[in-house]
């Protein structure tokens, strides 16, 4: 839920990167954190296990600066991807304004991507939201992997809603900022 604070002349929006374990959600935020210009980016906060897997969420505040006298801020979150953390994902989705679904392009992850997407749709429905009429972007990550599932196949099985989709390799940064720009604009468009 975007918060428009007229008194403080500030607009705050929440964006969540969703997807299976090890699909590259945290890597997206790390790349943004290390490459976004300094005045725009805040500190990256991670709650991870000892093996560096996300336990609760990662959090990165971004500041777009002044637009028509209002300071526009985006709060980027990731969810923990592992199956057992479903309830934690529900907690992080609270009040979300836009979602990036990060799909792992490895062939062995296709079914897991599919199940994760179904879970997301169900969680959004429980919050009274339909992904079809919500700021929602797909990212086909790990395109650099040998044997990556072809994009038309991913599109056919995972993108029934024909959401805008971006090929990416979050490790090298390819596709990371196009994805970020698309979700930020979609969120602004839905205010």
């Amino acid at each position: 839920m975007a918060l428009i604070n007229v008194a403080k002349r500030e607009i705050q929006c929440k964006i969540v990167y969703y997807g299976t374990g090890f699909c590259g959600k945290t890597t997206n935020l790390q790349y943004i954190h290390s490459h976004a210009p300094r005045p725009a980016r805040g500190d990256l906060l991670s709650i991870a296990t000892e093996s560096e897997r996300t336990l609760f969420f990662d959090f990165l505040p971004l500041d777009l600066g002044q637009v028509h006298g209002f300071r526009v801020r985006f709060a980027l979150y990731t969810v923990p991807g592992q199956v057992l953390y479903e309830r934690t994902r529900v907690a992080v989705l609270n009040g979300v304004d836009g979602i990036v679904f990060v799909a792992d392009s490895s062939p062995e992850k296709l079914e897991e991507n599919f199940q994760n997407l179904l879970e997301l749709e169900m969680n959004m429905r429980r919050m009274g939201r339909d992904l079809g009429s919500f700021p929602f972007i797909m990212q086909w990550n790990k395109r650099d992997l040998p044997g990556a599932v072809p994009i038309p196949t991913l599109d056919r099985y995972l993108n029934r809603r024909r959401a805008p989709a971006f090929a990416a390799s979050a490790l090298t940064g390819e596709g990371v900022f196009p994805t970020l720009r698309a979700i930020c604009k979609a969120v602004m468009g839905s205010l």
């Binding site: 975007a2 028509h68 309830r87 934690t88 529900v90 009040g95």
Partner: protein
């Protein structure tokens, strides 16, 4: 529960919120009081928060509250509205306001927890009335701020700032 699309807090209502938070901090001798949206976004704060990063604190407090609510649901507790976190030096009380906001009171060992609970509940009732008014005025106020030109200029700023 259906979530709101936007929430617009006017100058008048922010002043009302600041007054309630300020009085609660004063009456309980709390270190500081914060009002968050349950998505983790900071609405207002009062008191001596010093150099603390309230943006990160807000995200963590809202996350902790949402997470505890999920725990409560698994345990079959369906009306879970409050958390008390007790530390060696400081305690934190978080109360849900009308399914939308979180009132957070940070206080030290000099303050009695019972007093904080009672007065936070009373402040919560006042804040719930503010929230009702904010909900009803949201659509009209939003149209005054966000128009086609605003969206277009925001898109330009996004393009120029978020690049490789």
């Amino acid at each position: 529960m259906e979530q709101l699309t936007n929430l617009v807090v006017s100058e008048g209502e922010l002043a009302n919120i600041a007054r309630v938070l300020g009085r609660l901090a004063l009456d309980t001798s709390a270190s500081y009081t914060i009002l968050l949206d349950k998505s983790g976004q900071l609405i207002a704060s009062q008191g001596q928060q010093g150099q603390r990063d309230l943006t990160a604190l807000g995200a963590l407090m809202a996350g902790a509250f949402s997470s505890s609510r999920q725990v409560a649901e698994i345990l079959g507790e369906h009306d879970f509205r409050s958390i008390l976190q007790q530390g060696v030096q400081e305690n934190i009380l978080s109360n849900l306001i009308g399914e939308q906001w979180l009132l957070v009171v940070v206080f030290d060992q000099q303050t009695h927890v019972g007093l904080v609970k009672v007065l936070a509940r009373k402040s919560g009732e006042e804040l719930e009335r503010v929230l009702d008014r904010v909900r009803h005025g949201a659509s009209e106020a939003r149209q005054q701020v966000v128009n086609v030109q605003f969206r277009s200029d925001a898109a330009s700023a996004i393009d120029s700032l978020f690049q490789d």
